[in-house]
């Protein structure tokens, strides 16, 4: 798009996008580290994650301040308005993703106190799928790639399937051996966290769609079939 007559307006919008991308990078890293901490039973890494979540929270507050100022001083319209609004919405989702990753790190610390379980592998696998989803939706955001956003949006079903199968698996273990209940419950909550992160990624995909096209994704659900799936 061509530049604004007032150049500093362009700079401010670019900074918004950059800040969201930075938050996205942090959230992505936090999630992948949280999964590593679970699998490798790395207590130090888990503690570091809990601290690093604060960084995302601060970035989000900063971004909210910027958005308020931009709305008050620039009155963005059309694509600029959508860009401002999306930045605000997406940063909210990323902040929640950070919280969920932090919660996984806390549970990892607790898991370290009991015997390792092979099921952590399944959680890690699900986490890997969710991590890819998050990575792709952030790419879709920075490159304004609607097709990729729609693709991510469709993957939410896959995550739900993962979650349901993990749920059943964990239940079976708990019924067989009640000593595993503590561990399994924490793993179940982790799976739930991952499922929530998937939901937030889907929200972000919807926002990317709105940002680029000006239309809500649910409205375009039917026409979404015209976008090819990249599976």
């Amino acid at each position: 798009m061509t530049e604004h007559i007032v150049k500093s307006f362009d700079d401010e919008l670019d900074e918004l996008t950059a800040e969201v991308a930075r938050m996205g990078g942090l959230a992505e890293q936090l999630l992948s580290d949280a999964l590593d901490a679970v699998v490798s039973r790395d207590g130090d890494l888990a503690k570091a994650i809990i601290k690093r979540d604060k960084e995302i929270d601060e970035l989000q507050l900063e971004l909210e301040r910027r958005v308020i100022l931009l709305l008050a001083l620039r009155q963005p319209m059309a694509a600029d308005l959508r860009r401002t609004f999306s930045a605000l919405k997406i940063s909210g989702d990323l902040e929640r993703i950070g919280d969920l990753a932090k919660n996984m790190a806390k549970r990892a610390l607790i898991l370290n106190e009991s015997k390792p379980m092979s099921l952590t592998r399944s959680v890690h696998r699900m986490g890997h799928v969710v991590g890819n989803m998050l990575k792709d939706v952030l790419d879709a955001y920075t490159t304004a790639d609607v097709d990729l956003a729609v693709d991510v949006w469709h993957r939410d079903e896959e995550i739900d399937a993962h979650y349901n199968s993990l749920f059943r698996e964990l239940l079976t273990y708990m019924m067989e051996d009640s000593k595993t209940i503590t561990t399994c419950t924490h793993l179940l909550f982790m799976a739930k966290n991952l499922e929530r992160i998937g939901d937030h990624s889907t929200n972000i995909a919807e926002n990317v769609h709105y940002l680029v096209t000006g239309e809500e994704l649910s409205e375009a659900r039917k026409s979404a079939t015209k976008y090819k799936k990249k599976k």
Partner: protein
């Protein structure tokens, strides 16, 4: 008066071309304007929005070198037909200008002037009634009721603008054209006019030229964007300001050219 509801356009323009001498100012404008709502014309200076506005009550007739081609219909009637008297047309299609232009007469006479020359009142009681309802509808009555004999020019800018709106209303128009009605007013007076416009739209088709995009967004239900003499895009205001179809509209309303 009851609020009118109708799906047929109040004003319908087809292939309107306007020339000032050899210079073409408008190119093939096609636009339907609904009744009982506010339609804003936006666009950079010289884009033709005021020219088009002035076509709707044949104000361009007063400019010798101006030539209007195409059709403009008001309620299905061709306003450029030979048997149309522009003076009577202008009672139906009132106009409010950028700078308030009250007559150098009393507040009362400013409003009574139109009804008198158009013979809308048969006695002074009736005329008093028209003046009062017009001033009330223009939101000015409470401020001037006790000084109707004072000159209209003695009012503040915002009050003068509401006075000329009352003057336009007094001759029972169907359409009110407003050419940047708030550009000479402070924010408070502007807000009062905008509030008034919002009240008036229940009864009139209001068409407004504005340079303030925020104003167009605030007060109008439909917005039309003009550029270089062409109507680029027209549609519901919320769509124009959140998701315009044309990149020129997008660039203009987001401050990328103009």
């Amino acid at each position: 008066m009851q609020a009118k509801a109708s799906s047929a356009p109040k004003v319908r323009a087809r292939n309107v071309n306007v020339f000032y001498g050899s210079k073409q100012a408008l190119f093939d404008v096609n636009l339907d304007i609904p009744d009982c709502s506010v339609t804003s014309f936006i666009g950079p200076s010289g884009c033709g929005k005021s020219t088009f506005l002035r076509c709707i009550n044949r104000m361009n007739d007063t400019i010798d070198i101006c030539r209007v081609e195409g059709d403009i219909h008001l309620d299905g009637l061709d306003i450029y037909a030979r048997d149309v008297d522009p003076v009577i047309l202008r009672a139906s299609v009132g106009m409010v200008f950028q700078k308030p232009n009250p007559f150098p007469k009393s507040i009362y006479d400013n409003v009574a002037y139109g009804p008198r020359i158009h013979g809308l009142a048969s006695n002074t009681d009736e005329l008093d009634g028209i003046v009062e309802t017009s001033l009330k509808r223009a939101g000015l009555w409470d401020e001037v009721a006790d000084r109707l004999d004072e000159p209209g020019t003695g009012l503040s800018g915002g009050q003068q603008q509401r006075l000329v709106i009352a003057r336009a209303i007094a001759v029972r128009p169907e359409v009110i054209l407003m050419d940047e009605p708030c550009s000479a007013l402070d924010p408070i007076a502007t807000a009062k006019i905008e509030e008034l416009i919002d009240d008036l739209r229940a009864h009139y088709c209001i068409i407004m030229v504005t340079h303030s995009m925020a104003q167009a967004a605030r007060v109008s239900q439909n917005t039309a964007f003009f550029h270089l003499g062409k109507l680029v895009e027209a549609g519901p205001t919320e769509q124009i300001f959140t998701n315009p179809n044309d990149t020129r509209t997008q660039d203009y309303i987001t401050g990328r050219f103009g």
